[in-house]
């Protein structure tokens, strides 16, 4: 099992925004199909880490390897394998949900039928003809989830994936973004209990530094409290 190459390998990843370091010397390995929960307070570096993995940001130091491809040099090779669910839904407000998904399907070279498939999976087929600006936040999040999984990525980068979803909607999207998806997942959450429950690995960030990286069972309540103190 140890011989299996990791889906994600970070070695000493550092990223600055001006003088401020958003990530400092972060290292972690994630096995294929595993779930990494990234925990930390606002501004700890969680979203920065996701954007680096999504090839949208360059690290200023360290190595980022996704599916064996070093980033950002080989970003083109892994882009089709990534599904990013960010804070922003990455949807055009004036276009309908269906038009947005058709746009993304064409960019990713995905068959037209897949759009209907993911709309049904998030139970949005009836409101798919409405402009995104007219949808509730929860509905927008469901369309955003449909967009993130449209091209059947192998790696899901999920920034607060269940934000704005009611319990039934959260259950509905579980097969798409939950463990059942079979994807390698990196997720951030402000609800450490929920994140720890579905994680195989935890990366706790404080001011951009990794203060813990390992088994979620070894990350106790006291450490959680200290992280968010």
């Amino acid at each position: 099992m140890d011989a299996e190459p990791p889906a994600i390998e970070l070695r000493g990843v550092t990223r600055y925004f001006g003088e401020r370091s958003a990530l400092r010397d972060v290292s972690v390995r994630v096995a294929p199909g595993a779930t990494l929960a990234v925990l930390g307070r606002n501004g700890a570096g969680k979203s920065t880490l996701l954007r680096i993995l999504a090839t949208l940001l360059r690290p200023h130091a360290g190595d980022v390897i996704v599916f064996g491809e070093p980033l950002p040099r080989r970003a083109f090779a892994v882009r089709g394998e990534l599904g990013l669910l960010a804070h922003e839904p990455l949807l055009y407000r004036e276009l309908t949900g269906r038009e947005n998904l058709e746009y993304h399907a064409r960019l990713h070279g995905v068959a037209h039928e897949r759009v209907q498939e993911v709309l049904e999976a998030v139970a949005m087929e009836r409101r798919a003809g409405d402009p995104v600006r007219l949808l509730s936040r929860g509905m927008v999040q469901r369309i955003a989830i449909a967009r993130a999984v449209l091209h059947a990525p192998r790696l899901l980068l999920l920034d607060e994936p269940r934000a704005n979803l009611d319990p039934s909607a959260a259950e509905l999207v579980e097969p798409l973004i939950g463990r059942a998806s079979g994807c390698t997942r990196v997720l951030t959450s402000h609800d450490p209990g929920a994140a720890l429950a579905e994680a195989d690995l935890v990366l706790a960030l404080k001011d951009g530094r990794a203060v813990f990286a390992g088994d979620p069972n070894a990350f106790g309540e006291a450490q959680v409290r200290e992280l968010y103190a």
Binding site: L56, L90, Y103, H108
Partner: protein, 224 residues
């Protein structure tokens, strides 16, 4: 090219729904013609003055379009969505330049006849074929440089300022060539039947050089 068409179609659809860019460009051009009409205190203008008024007005109207070219990408995450797709980034340059070219063409279809009515005494008919050729070449340059400038400006905090500050000096040679090429067509006495080849060549060369520069640097502008 297929990706560029996908992005272009999306841009035109968004513009058709919002009507945020082209109507503003047209309105600015029409208001500017009215201002010139009264400010110059002349019923008609001709020759190089008329060409200068037309070209400068179109340029300022174009700046509105240039400033708004990447607004949806910036505000609604379109940049990230595009960058996450396994596609050639040059497609975004081609699509945005094509969208701006179409906006300029729509602007001119309305603004040039309005210019004729408000500021030219004589009919535009004889000058129109030559003007169309000149404006197509000018619009190509505006579209390419405008896209480049807009892509630079959109990543800055002072984006509304950066667009004109960088764009206007870069567009000055095209403005001069366009005005000089149109001027002889708008002379009241003995108007030229065809635009001067020298200025057409300058415009074409300018378009080619900036198209190559844009192709070479656009990828880097999309990097963080």
């Amino acid at each position: 090219m297929r990706t560029a068409l996908v992005v272009l179609r999306k841009d035109l659809r968004v513009e058709a729904r919002t009507l945020e860019t082209v109507p503003a460009m047209v309105l600015l051009a029409l208001v500017t013609f009215v201002i010139f009409h009264f400010a110059l205190d002349r019923d008609t203008i001709e020759g190089q003055l008329a060409a200068g008024v037309l070209t400068a007005t179109l340029l300022f109207a174009a700046m509105l379009g240039i400033n708004r070219l990447f607004v949806a990408e910036r505000e609604q995450g379109g940049f990230d969505a595009f960058l996450l797709a396994p596609v050639d980034r040059t497609a975004l340059l081609i699509a945005k330049a094509a969208a701006l070219f179409i906006y300029l063409a729509v602007l001119e279809v309305i603004a040039v006849p309005a210019f004729g009515l408000l500021l030219l005494g004589s009919s535009l008919g004889h000058a129109l074929p030559g003007m169309i050729l000149i404006l197509v070449l000018a619009d190509l340059g505006l579209a390419v440089i405008g896209t480049l400038v807009s892509a630079i400006a959109v990543h800055t905090r002072a984006r509304d300022l950066i667009g004109p500050v960088i764009g206007l000096p870069l567009l000055l040679p095209a403005l001069i060539a366009t005005a000089r090429a149109i001027g002889p067509l708008l002379r009241a006495a003995h108007p030229a039947t065809a635009p001067p080849g020298r200025w057409l060549a300058v415009l074409a060369l300018y378009d080619l050089v900036f198209a190559l520069i844009a192709y070479g640097v656009f990828d880097f502008l999309l990097e963080d």
